[in-house]
Symmetry: D2
Subunit: 241 residues, 4 copies
């Protein structure tokens, strides 16, 4: 993975975050507007798990985006997996307690749910919205690893349709349809032609900032990850750089 | 309706909002902690549509709330309409432009979607979250009217189950199952034994603060309200105090 | 409507039915094979409601039909309303008791469900399968009227998608999404560009020949027809020739 | 398994089937009415796979069965897995070609779908209705083995709810939610406290007697059994007596 980017509310927020990140002891680079088409200036920095994270405040809207004047439910009938938007990514690396501290104290995320061990947090689900997570970090010795990217579907029905499409076209399935205990999302995982793991999922709880943190212990980690199967499988442990 | 309350992030936010509301020219009362069981101190004020709104920062958790330690998907199997939470209320009154100004400038809501006329906003959908709306205001000459309260369901499937329950028990149906053009929610309305209109609904778009505002013109108001029927009906216009 | 046709099991069944229909006192015509492309010889006769019904035993398979060798769930991803097959038609005319007698005694259908009045059957739902109905007859003074043709969908989810498509393209809606009390089907009705009423629906009970007949009385006819609305509407009463 | 029973249309059909079964060379026993409460006289015989099959024409209706006079969609709100009826059983044993011959030629079933090998049929799906199967036979050296019993659900949504219930109460999961290539049913399997495998499933194609037989070759048997996983697993091979 090259980097994961988050959009902030305004250009002045970039300055505020740059200051806060530096005060936290992390070096911040800046990439000028236009380095990527349609994208404004970006802050770029390495978080304790070794991943590059970027922040930006301006991105051009697509000409083919949603209607805003008397908006129909869709412009053209959706097809394929009927994905509605990018949702989150899942990243593996060391120093999970530190990355949680950074995301919650510096970037104003909330830790919505975690799997905890006596040695600290093994899996952290972090949200800057009402979603159960906007990014997840999982403990692993090697830094800067990528596990999956996830796209949002409308319902369990669409998860089933995605499964039909995956099977019909002999796309390599990882696991699913199933449900996560963590986040409660209904999900299916598959590998794209580049070998990257993709998730399409629906549901998951709506997070409010006053929700008590949900915590899983390692003896229930199978159910935390795959609520139906209640056990991890080796294939789901693979990551890429 | 006596009042609608919103929970704010912290006790000090109450002080900040009290100051901002007064600076906006609206009188603010305060109700002491414990006046309602489990509820902390509240700010109370009348918004331009004539409705009483309250803010609070502390509310005791139910003993029967969601599990937080190795949380199962539910404690006990859901039954009935399988409502997951209170979602929003819909209020009618005059001065919609002013109430929008108040909610966006003073209470930090966003106007996600609106029906607009040459005389100003006729229907305003306001969010302080990633939901399409947390409260809606509709133009009407009489102040302080209540149209409906809405509860959240998980999917269109549950909307159908709610319809089955409403019919099976001969509960007075208002309209639905249908979909709103505004918010895109899939919905059914019925009257409870007190004569109040209730909505249970699913779906609706996920709102992000950088979304362009969606605007409906009055010639499409039928589709805005009931996307399938494409026309208002007289019964849906009724309100109570 | 020109005619409604039913496929029988074999060519010799045509001879058996021709004899039984004539013994019942109804004249039977025969149309030679090939009069319509791909269609074998047909029996043609007028039932007591005034409708022309035909029987045939041979029809050529489409080159684009379902796969039969290691059959995938679909050849090409379904789109639009995702109709799976023609299901039934609904016909209006006089002499409902007589048409029921004909279909049950001569054509071996079962009367699965009926609305009954002191003057006889007002609405008859007849099945020659495990479906709640393969044809329905409704009492009306004028003979040989056509009310609607119905196509099958997989689930309530698809009924909602059909509603989205009907609304998105401003196709004239008749009623729905709703549920019928009779048959329990989940349904939506719309008018095609020719002005004919079409239904797409899902669900409905599975009929077994030992099921007791379900009977509705006229004081519950609203719920029988539209289980959710619990009342007929005038528009749904229209028919064509 | 003690026996699987099928209900025939009338008492005289029992005599007809008794004659046909004997003519086929299979011995037929008869069990008198009332040996089981509410059950009429039964024919009992052993089919070529070693399983005892029974036929009967009379069974008393439950006092708590479906309503037949102005029938509501349900008497009491369904709960749990919301099973609608018993659907089929899956039996393992030798002589699959012979058992298919017996069910199609003597008992008037249709072979809707099969997995075929050069040595004959390995898996046979037999229907006496519009369902994709009413009984299935799978090739195995040992006679008279029981694989699973299946109950019908309304939709993929209910399959997901069944999965939630199975996980919530730590019921042993076998496999699912998934889909079968054969029959196309959407399914989940679990073990009951007696150790028997149970299936709850939805969907599956509607069978008409003029449908061409669907045939799977053994190189696609993984997809035939589990359309999503595309491979058998050892646990699914277990049977009981």
């Amino acid at each position: 993975m090259d980097y994961a980017g988050f959009k902030v509310g305004s250009d002045s927020d970039l300055d505020t975050f740059a200051r806060r990140i530096k005060e936290h002891g992390i070096e911040v680079g800046e990439i000028g507007a236009g380095e990527q088409p349609g994208l404004g200036r970006r802050l770029s920095f390495i978080v304790p798990t070794g991943h590059r994270i970027e922040l930006f405040s301006e991105m051009a809207l697509s000409d083919h985006g949603p209607m805003t004047r008397n908006p129909e439910i869709w412009r053209e009938e959706p097809h394929g997996m009927r994905v509605t938007r990018f949702d989150h990514c899942n990243l593996h690396g060391p120093n999970i307690d530190q990355v949680v501290e950074f995301f919650t104290e510096v970037l104003d995320f909330s830790l919505t749910e975690a799997a905890e061990t006596p040695e600290g947090i093994a899996a952290a689900f972090l949200s800057c919205s009402n979603k159960a997570h906007d990014v997840a970090f999982i403990r692993r010795a090697e830094p800067a690893k990528f596990h999956h990217v996830a796209f949002s579907l409308d319902s369990w029905h669409e998860v089933g349709q995605a499964a039909d499409i995956i099977a019909r076209y002999d796309i390599p399935l990882d696991i699913g349809p199933t449900r996560h205990g963590i986040t409660r999302g209904q999900t299916i995982y598959f590998f794209d032609p580049s070998g990257n793991r993709n998730e399409v999922f629906a549901g998951g709880f709506i997070y409010y900032p006053d929700n008590p943190k949900r915590v899983w212990s390692m003896d229930q980690i199978g159910k935390a990850i795959f609520y139906y199967q209640r056990e991890l499988n080796q294939r789901f442990m693979s990551v890429v750089t």
